[in-house]
Symmetry: C2
Subunit: 331 residues, 2 copies
Amino acid sequence: MMRNEQEFVRWLKQIAPKPRGRLKLGIGDDAAMMAVSPGRDVILTTDLTIENVHFTHALHSARSVGHRALARSLSDIAAMGGEPRVALVSIALSERTTAAWVKGFYSGFLALAERYRVAVIGGDTSVVKGTILIDVIAVGEVPKGKELRRSGARPGDWIFVSGSLGLSSLGLTLLKSRTRRGRKSAEEKAAIRAHLYPEPRCALGRFLSQERIASAAIDISDGLSTDLQHLCEASGTGARIWENSIPGPWWPVPSRFSPGEMLHFALHGGEDYQLLFTVPPAKVPRLPRRFRGVELQRIGEVTRPRKLHLVREAGREETLSPAGWDHFRKP
Amino acid sequence: MMRNEQEFVRWLKQIAPKPRGRLKLGIGDDAAMMAVSPGRDVILTTDLTIENVHFTHALHSARSVGHRALARSLSDIAAMGGEPRVALVSIALSERTTAAWVKGFYSGFLALAERYRVAVIGGDTSVVKGTILIDVIAVGEVPKGKELRRSGARPGDWIFVSGSLGLSSLGLTLLKSRTRRGRKSAEEKAAIRAHLYPEPRCALGRFLSQERIASAAIDISDGLSTDLQHLCEASGTGARIWENSIPGPWWPVPSRFSPGEMLHFALHGGEDYQLLFTVPPAKVPRLPRRFRGVELQRIGEVTRPRKLHLVREAGREETLSPAGWDHFRKP
């Protein structure tokens, strides 16, 4: 570990990109500052990343932890249709945390930040007896009146998701299974990579908001079933989704997982950080099938009755119960 | 505890002041939003509050923990000369945390927020196996070009502090001493109150910035010696302060503490959240002796040699070593 806080702050100032342009002040003063463009509102989000809850040392490299901690917050900005601008990171390190871990964490964090042109302008640090805890604050901008809320879905709107669902939880399951030490297939590697290095859908969120295509949006962090319920509850609606339209790159099913397990990953697996959004029928023609290489798949429709339904392959309709991540679930 | 996260978010939405005016969106969407006035920059700060590091259940009520967690961040905004606007709070609760504790925490947090017209617009929650950890993000505004930085002090500037120093650590020491169960003096009660419910100096910070009186400022969160070093390091200067000018309400010394102990509280005790600021000699006449009931006391001067000196009562000059709070100190 660094010897003291000042040494840590000096090191972080060296490796973090310098504030420039509309960033007035970076790490090292009482607070950080940024300028906001006229005609834009500020978007703020904060996400906790906790050792043994969101990551473990056995499964996640420090670099992946840094990437994932920032990706979660950037994904919230994406779901609002915003452009991420700056991030702050508060980190409570354990007494056992090594300097190598801290450097790995920041290298993952800063690499993602640089790719999305996000400046890291501040934070707080402490050392605790327990496990590592990280809180990432991301700040973005959105043109006034163009933010994507959860509450704008209306009955009859179509429901879309970006990319593949369940990939991250499949990847996590593969990481946990120590029995398969052998060569991994390309699909398995892709699933593990989706878990360790998820990609926030910032460009897609901005497109959906600035073209005024989506009526509501949320990012899938807790799992499709749970996040769909969040969106429907905020909008005062229900939803019907079709099992056979839910996108996953693993069809046909790898032999070691049953179709039921795969469906469970897709419906309830969290941390994919894809966008779930609704589009009024009249605007659907303006939505491309792919956006910058990411598939946009229709999976269902918004309904007036405030319930979630899943249409199974045989056409049978079932109640869909939210069974994704609950932050109050015991670790 | 609440049964699940949604129940918690619903409860928090009920008790938190509703977003209004320039706040566009409060708790419950992917992110929070705020509008920024033209001609103003945004100030951002984040502070960790950790069980058994910054508070213990034995000494601090839940209400005090909530108050102190927010006060720390508001004090950072004050030290920048900003006006606090919104706050977000990320909280990792322990499995043993009771609903009564959570309600006490938010009642202390929200009471202070309301007094400073700060809207609580978001955050994150989780449950951990270890101890409670809270991260508070405060966001404020400052007219462009008027922020108070740490780096503006120049040799010859006078050094001032607001209020009394060491009161909070005296209060903490009194709280810890279980031997004195009897009646506490008014001074002892004031010290304990200063520790449990510190007051951020937001109005003073705004006054010093908007009247362009201070050349540099920092809040005294880690202790005078440490925060003076932070200010001097950022400014590329040193400082000389006079022992007998350091303000404390405990002179004459209560019999149970030696003069040396009292000086230690004043020089190195943290968490007073007073402002330490520098004023060019030509501007000193514009500085009142009191501001809204808070004394503004000259304690020394900025020097060119990059060292800190303490002038003792006898006129003897000693090197002053920073010995306040270090966030990397083992808990």
